[in-house]
Symmetry: C2
Subunit: 242 residues, 2 copies
């Protein structure tokens, strides 16, 4: 059985196999080593994600994933009283839901590498422009997400990772280190451009490498074609595939 790495999250995970996406880039890195399993659910917050845990990560599996990224918060941080209120989850509940997710994953497999990823920053102007492009004059006047509030969610996510001794990626901070992050990394003020996807890919690859899960160092499932003797191919396969 080939190792599985599950990427679990909201739309930013669901869309990660589009052109230039971070999930596809990981799948390319691990193409002959591990499967990148896409479990992204657009619009989901951590409260709704809890309902999926037993379905997606059944306890007692003979071959649980070796690693998982948990990438929620962009919807939890939608503001109460605004147009995306349905998705809002209070900050303390967000943290506790993340804790429950981690707890479940570790119950699946104590050895699983669990990486928490914070939501990206919000470009409020970009969100407004996107709303106007969809709804014209009927677009909301007030933002449904603010960068400041999303930053509080990011802080809680990183805080929890520290409490639990897990690696985390503070995407909210990381992206804002680059000038012009608003348009460079975000396509509609929230979702990622190819450049924004490259930041996630680079960070996830870095964390996996640091945790000893680097693709080049993982054992190869089958021989490289250059190792196959054209006159006696069986030899190479007996070594690795028996």
């Amino acid at each position: 059985m080939r190792p599985q790495i599950v990427i679990f999250g909201d739309s930013i995970t669901e869309q990660s196999f589009r052109s230039g996406g971070w999930g596809a880039a990981l799948a390319d890195n691990y193409s002959r080593k591990a499967d990148i399993v896409l479990r992204g659910y657009g619009g989901y917050n951590t409260r709704w994600a809890l309902f999926l845990l037993h379905h997606l990560f059944p306890l007692g599996s003979a071959a649980p994933p070796v690693a998982a990224t948990v990438f929620f918060g962009a919807n939890d941080a939608a503001l109460s009283g605004r147009t995306s209120e349905r998705q809002h989850v209070p900050i303390e509940e967000y943290k506790e839901n993340l804790r429950k997710i981690v707890h479940h994953l570790k119950e699946c497999s104590p050895a699983m590498l669990v990486v928490l990823i914070t939501p990206p920053p919000i470009d409020e102007e970009g969100r407004m422009a996107y709303a106007r492009s969809l709804y014209g004059d009927k677009a909301m006047e007030l933002p449904e997400r603010t960068n400041e509030v999303t930053g509080v969610y990011a802080t809680r996510c990183v805080e929890l990772a520290k409490e639990l001794g897990l690696p985390s990626i503070n995407l909210w901070s990381k992206m804002q280190e680059t000038e012009g992050w608003q348009k460079k990394f975000l396509s509609d003020g929230l979702h990622l451009t190819p450049e924004g996807n490259a930041v996630v890919h680079q960070e996830v690859a870095r964390v996996f490498n640091e945790a000893g899960l680097s693709a080049p160092e993982m054992p190869s499932e089958v021989p490289h074609h250059s190792e196959i003797d054209g006159k006696d191919p069986q030899k190479a396969f007996q070594l690795q595939c028996s």
Copy 2:
């Protein structure tokens, strides 16, 4: 268990999760419906692929793939007596090896949709330019693959699909319908540009749709976020996830 669609082939499959790749595009289409499982092995021909069958597609699996693409021939068609001779597989053996692959997959699961894909056409000038870029004056003077010979392999592949009643994609013919296919679809005379990847994606999606495996028509694993009642989320999950 979520349905699995395996893409099995050589480097053109292995590289299909790079930016703009056809495998990643399929994974995006099926993101909440099925897993696209990458089993691409650069440099492999059908003779070497046979050694992988029991390893990649064990008989007696409780959840065999629902579909598989089989995409070999670009290496089999490397010419005997030229620089890629190691990879050459005689034309009749190529066809018989493909038959063995199909036979194994159908033994895994008689219901599995097996789609045969021919190698793409060869831009001999592009291959030469690529060799010169790598080896300078030491590059081969004679092509290691020709478009004509690869076309014979493509014909045998389609012929076998007809004999076995399987769908097939004649990529060799399809790509040559477009003027300027040499540079438009091929990056080094053999591997695919993003536009070339788009042709494969479009053809595979068409065949899957015709066979009743279209992503929009497959059942959804979990509710869309718009179906979740913010005040009573459990309801939506009880319907679909129990």
